[in-house]
């Protein structure tokens, strides 16, 4: 039976960052992930925004964590070698109701300490972001908002945790948890572990996992939302994150992603799987036409859906704050963390890791290394650097994914780093994400995966 100080259940953004931060202390750590890869749950599909922190009530943990996490995001992404674009966000209103929302958020933001927030009138707004509808009347400009790819971030955190000694078991759904001499026995389908403490980061299943051992103070109502992704060559993509606050109903976010695409969404609707719906997509299209009228939706290359866990009290009322439950001295649960859970993932992981280290009374890990080096991608290099790279590693000369310029050496590196599926390769090096959506390279990647699996046997 394998023994660990801490077992993290679930390898989404929160699990990956919790593991990373646990290794800042002298805590042997394992992540047990039910699926074939990390970041395939909630964290596989979100709006990709690093929020500035004006959405939340002053004085709340959410407000404080978001503002400080946003401030530290450049450092975090430099440490983890993850592309981050601090492109700024514009929240746009076209009438009195939306304007009132913006004014309230502006005041919140000032109280929360969000830097450089500005309310802008129509002309200033259109000068800053000419793609906005001329009907716009007021805008809230947050230059500190940014965008990051959720799975790139989560995978980087897990790799950093692993490099610092954390173990990762995939295809390991936890099926049973029992208290045992001050700690726990944790069973997966194939293995039994013992540990001194548990952090439950099971996302959509977090309540179910807690209920393997303790009652849960909340229930999760799952809803879904739809997104569209546009070709990176589409014209009239905004340069900033644009958030539309319509006069009635739900708003829309448009994000110029780090990959160069335009991401539009999400809708809000019932749903318990990752399938898209026509109504949801039509909602996104309709709001896009209102706020970014020039965007050509015929340039769509992909649609996808996301799942939201909405924590509710037993009386059915919804909970706005992050729910971090501690049903026992050595058991922590993130119960349905939604927006801005990605922005705050490192901060939340650190928060729980610190408590856990205190409870187990362990020392800091002096060998902790926060810097992770990602896979070298030829497309990010200038001519000379790329030439040298190919001279050293000829497989960098062969482009496999021609839309996104991903080389054979990068695909091999992704497989070596743990990808077992085409999606796993996509999440590690971006292959198949472009305008042909893998129709010209998927078969080749599948063959490489099979080849590599063959070698492993």
């Amino acid at each position: 039976m394998k023994r660990y100080d801490a077992i993290v259940i679930g390898g989404g953004l929160l699990g990956c960052f919790t593991a990373r931060n646990l290794r800042r202390w002298d805590l042997s750590t394992a992540v047990l992930e039910a699926r074939e890869d990390v970041c395939t749950g909630i964290s596989r599909a979100n709006t990709a925004v690093v929020y500035p922190g004006y959405d939340h009530k002053p004085g709340t943990l959410k407000a404080a964590l978001t503002v400080s996490a946003n401030r530290d995001f450049d450092v975090l992404c430099r440490e983890l070698d993850v592309p981050f674009s601090r492109c700024g966000s514009l929240m746009a209103a076209c009438g009195p109701k939306g304007e009132a929302v913006l004014r309230r958020k502006f005041r919140n933001g000032q109280e929360n300490g969000v830097p450089d927030l500005q309310l802008l009138g129509r002309d200033e707004l259109l000068a800053l972001e000419p793609e906005l509808t001329p009907d716009v009347t007021l805008g809230l400009y947050a230059p500190t908002a940014g965008t990051v790819n959720p799975w790139a971030l989560g995978i980087a955190a897990m790799e950093n945790a692993a490099q610092n000694g954390a173990a990762l078991d995939r295809n390991a759904p936890v099926t049973s948890i029992t208290e045992d001499s001050g700690g726990y026995i944790v069973e997966t389908e194939n293995e039994t572990f013992s540990c001194r403490a548990i952090v439950n980061c099971a996302g959509l299943r977090s309540v179910a996992v807690q209920e393997l051992c303790y009652p849960s103070p909340v229930q999760l109502r799952i809803t879904a939302g739809d997104y569209l992704v546009l070709d990176s060559l589409t014209s009239h993509s905004p340069k900033h994150i644009v958030q539309f606050e319509p006069e009635q109903g739900k708003g829309l976010t448009a994000v110029p992603t780090v990959e160069g695409n335009l991401l539009l969404g999400p809708s809000e609707r019932p749903g318990v799987d990752f399938g898209t719906t026509r109504d949801g997509l039509d909602f996104v299209r309709s709001l896009t036409r209102q706020v970014l009228p020039q965007v050509d939706l015929n340039d769509t290359i992909r649609t996808f859906a996301a799942l939201r866990p909405n924590p509710e009290r037993p009386d059915g009322s919804s909970i706005r704050s992050f729910v971090i439950d501690r049903p026992a001295e050595r058991f922590w649960s993130f119960l349905g963390v939604k927006t801005p859970g990605m922005t705050c993932a490192d901060a939340l992981g650190l928060h729980v890791a610190r408590e856990l280290a205190g409870a187990l009374q362990v020392n800091k890990n002096p060998a902790f290394q926060p810097v992770r080096n990602g896979i070298v991608q030829a497309r990010n290099l200038d001519f000379e650097a790329r030439r040298r790279l190919i001279a050293e590693t000829p497989e960098h000369g062969e482009v496999v994914c021609c839309c996104e310029d991903v080389t054979l050496a990068e695909i091999h590196a992704a497989i070596k780093a743990g990808a077992t599926t085409v999606d796993g390769v996509k999440r590690r090096v971006g292959a198949t994400m472009g305008r042909c959506q893998g129709s010209r390279c998927r078969l080749k990647i599948e063959a490489l995966l099979r080849e590599e699996a063959g070698h492993g046997n």
């Binding site: 060559l233 399938g275 026509r278 000369g397 482009v399 310029d405 010209r440 078969l443």
Partner: protein, 289 residues
């Protein structure tokens, strides 16, 4: 490196353009292609019907032969990464990265297929959904099967040819679906590919939703006239829903006088012969300069 004429793509159009330019007197020509073989997409078209009754690979061989007696330089397994306004292309291969400056350029980069995400199809994203060209590559170049119970969306030539190929590999082709009133490819292909093998055509309908976790379990098909919907079980859906000229490399360039487009990257040609003819005439014209 320098060259008078750079041709990107060694498919029917690029090869013919090179031969045309050589015949017209141009003596400094370089063709680059990412593939290992000449002929572009012809390699995977193992059926007959090219240039009379040749197979795709035979036609590719024929086109390559006419290149043999010329002094055209070839760089295969070479990706053209970028082309700049200053007439410089960056080429990448296992041998290295190099800059090529040129006086004239012919883009003969073919086309790509419209992917699932660009279609108005909702629902899950299970395995078992391929573009028709991908399925053609699987069966003809990799000896793999896309699936067992196959639906094909789109009755252009590619859709019908792939339907026959699936049938000949012993698969069950449930139907070829088409949103128009009848098939959109050539009558010849309808007779040879569909009628001969009794593959059903269902016109006036489209796929609106995919079902299945892991593997495709079936699709919702909507009759466009009545709006009625039906679930059709299948494990594979092949998308033959359109070809898009591949102009990404030059999309930022506008229309400089040194840039010429030939073959499917200019407009989608039904017949490889027509792509070749277009390449040849552009080559002849540029070669004179």
């Amino acid at each position: 490196m320098e060259t008078d004429l750079l041709i990107i793509g060694a498919g029917a159009a690029g090869l013919s353009a090179a031969v045309g330019a050589w015949e017209a007197g141009c003596r400094d020509i370089l063709i680059a292609d990412r593939r290992a073989h000449l002929g572009g997409v012809l390699e995977q078209c193992i059926h007959t019907g090219f240039h009379g009754d040749l197979t795709g690979p035979e036609y590719a061989a024929l086109l390559s032969c006419s290149l043999r007696d010329t002094g055209v330089s070839l760089q295969l397994e070479t990706e053209v990464l970028s082309v700049s306004q200053s007439r410089e292309a960056v080429l990448s291969s296992r041998k290295g990265l190099e800059r090529v400056t040129f006086s004239q350029m012919i883009l003969a980069s073919g086309c790509r297929e419209r992917p699932l995400g660009a279609l108005d199809i909702t629902g899950a994203r299970p395995a078992g959904v391929y573009t028709a060209g991908e399925a053609q590559e699987m069966m003809n170049l990799r000896n793999e099967d896309p699936g067992e119970n196959i639906l094909i969306l789109g009755s252009g030539d590619l859709g019908m040819i792939v339907a026959r190929r699936c049938f000949l590999r012993g698969k069950r082709v449930i139907a070829v679906l088409e949103q128009a009133e009848t098939y959109t490819g050539m009558a010849k292909n309808y007779h040879r590919c569909m009628e001969t093998h009794a593959i059903p055509l269902r016109a006036g309908c489209t796929v609106t939703e995919l079902h299945g976790e892991g593997r495709l379990r079936g699709v919702t098909v909507r009759e466009l006239d009545s709006g009625s919907e039906e679930f059709i079980p299948c494990d594979t859906l092949l998308l033959a829903t359109g070809l898009i000229p591949e102009q990404t490399l030059v999309s930022h360039l506008g229309n400089p006088p040194w840039l010429h487009l030939a073959g499917n990257c200019n407009r989608v040609h039904d017949l490889a012969d027509s792509a070749a003819a277009e390449g040849r005439s552009i080559g002849l014209e540029i070669g004179k300069k």
